[in-house]
């Protein structure tokens, strides 16, 4: 296998580009694709302050480093969600999923001198994601996504950041699109875009990795020396999103480039048509009577969740049957 650029030994194949790359030129490809996405969708202007939502996984850490490599001023925000951690009585030395994720983020930031902001939902809001899932009887990803969106928005506005950047990659976006199309959820389809402009009390949100597939962000991390949380979130196992990814991956194997064509075809040909109706409804948003966040109800979904979990939860965190990560 030879690198398409230099003809030296390749370390990775990228079937959707019908090409192989050496480490140096693959890293350059990732930078170029990220820069292209930022420019193509006018995500970040020169000099703007970026808040990167970091989880300790491959995508968010890769994004944080890529933004710095491209010359952007980017700080990280990590939210401790209390997943697979906290309950007493575990053997000494064992730590939970969120503990491991947080450690990866802190080490990454410290080694590079990046500024990291942390929020612990248990300490600051009195609940964690396993408890929220148990009380609401909904899939954990629902409470998790709601909590993260709310806290990222607020931290960005409070901190004076111009934009929130998340590590959603091409596979993520194609899978979300696939799910929304299967259910013809036109409200979600109208909001699915690589850039959500600021307004109505929300900061601008951008997804600079939409031109990179999941395997490519993972490979970027390995080749760039980024030590990330490899283990899957124990609460995400078997969720619908992973099922959609699996179906799209089967199509991609048969016809490389399918995910890119699906997602970017949607952006080019359908997204604008769906956005017109949604824009009218967005003007109806008011402000949460408790925290001031934008909401269509009197109290926003995050404050309702916090109140509900706080009223129903036991004194300590809920133990869920999750794999234990052993500290190496």
């Amino acid at each position: 296998m030879k690198c398409r650029v230099c003809r030296g030994p390749a370390v990775i194949d990228v079937p959707r580009h019908n090409a192989n790359f050496c480490a140096e030129h693959f890293l350059r490809l990732c930078r170029d694709q990220t820069r292209k996405a930022i420019e193509q969708f006018a995500m970040i202007a020169p000099g703007e302050r970026v808040l990167v939502a970091v989880s300790g996984g491959k995508d968010s850490l890769a994004l944080w480093q890529l933004l710095h490599e491209l010359g952007h001023e980017a700080d990280g925000l990590y939210i401790g969600l209390g997943i697979g951690s906290g309950p007493k009585g575990r053997p000494s030395g064992d730590v939970g999923y969120s503990d491991v994720s947080g450690a990866h983020v802190r080490t990454f930031a410290a080694e590079r001198g990046y500024r990291l902001i942390e929020i612990d939902v248990r300490e600051e809001h009195g609940f964690d994601i396993p408890t929220a899932a148990a009380v609401t009887r909904r899939v954990p990803c629902s409470s998790c996504g709601l909590t993260k969106r709310h806290l990222f928005d607020r931290a960005a506005l409070d901190g004076g950041y111009d934009v929130v950047a998340t590590g959603h990659n091409l596979d993520d976006e194609a899978a979300v699109l696939f799910g929304n199309v299967l259910h013809w959820d036109t409200d979600y389809l109208a909001r699915q875009a690589p850039v959500l402009p600021a307004g109505n009390g929300f900061p601008r949100k951008v997804k600079p990795l939409v031109r990179l597939a999941e395997r490519e962000t993972a490979a970027y991390c390995v080749l760039a020396g980024i030590d990330y949380q490899v283990e899957e979130c124990p609460l995400a196992a078997g969720n619908r999103h992973l099922g959609y990814k699996d179906l799209l991956e089967q199509a991609e194997r048969r016809s490389p480039g399918t995910k890119h064509a699906f997602y970017f075809g949607f952006l080019e040909r359908a997204a604008e048509l769906l956005r017109a109706g949604a824009a009218l409804r967005a003007e109806d948003l008011g402000r949460c009577t408790s925290c001031g966040a934008p909401t269509a109800e009197g109290t926003c979904a995050f404050c309702r969740l916090q109140t509900r979990v706080g009223a129903a939860a036991p004194a300590g965190p809920v133990e869920v049957p999750t794999p234990v990560m052993v500290r190496r």
Partner: protein, 72 residues
């Protein structure tokens, strides 16, 4: 060779020499959904792996997406 697998974390032994593609085939793992790592760097599919190599086969799929909505 010693092979580290993830999600869940476990180790298996495979006799070498064997190509990366051959090892993945033996383990019924689709190459497009993993990275093969040796000594901290990626190993392409046509590379031969020695009997004394230590390899990690790392999945690249991650989930845990919240609903993609925006307004709270």
């Amino acid at each position: 060779m010693k092979i580290l697998l993830r999600n869940p974390r476990r180790e298996v032994e495979v006799r070498g020499p064997r190509s990366v593609a051959g090892v993945l085939n033996d383990l019924a793992i689709e190459r497009s959904s993993v990275l093969v790592i040796r000594n901290g760097t990626l190993v392409p599919g046509d590379e031969m792996l020695a009997d004394d190599d230590v390899i990690e086969i790392r999945p690249v799929i991650s989930g845990g997406m919240g609903a993609p909505g925006r307004a709270s």
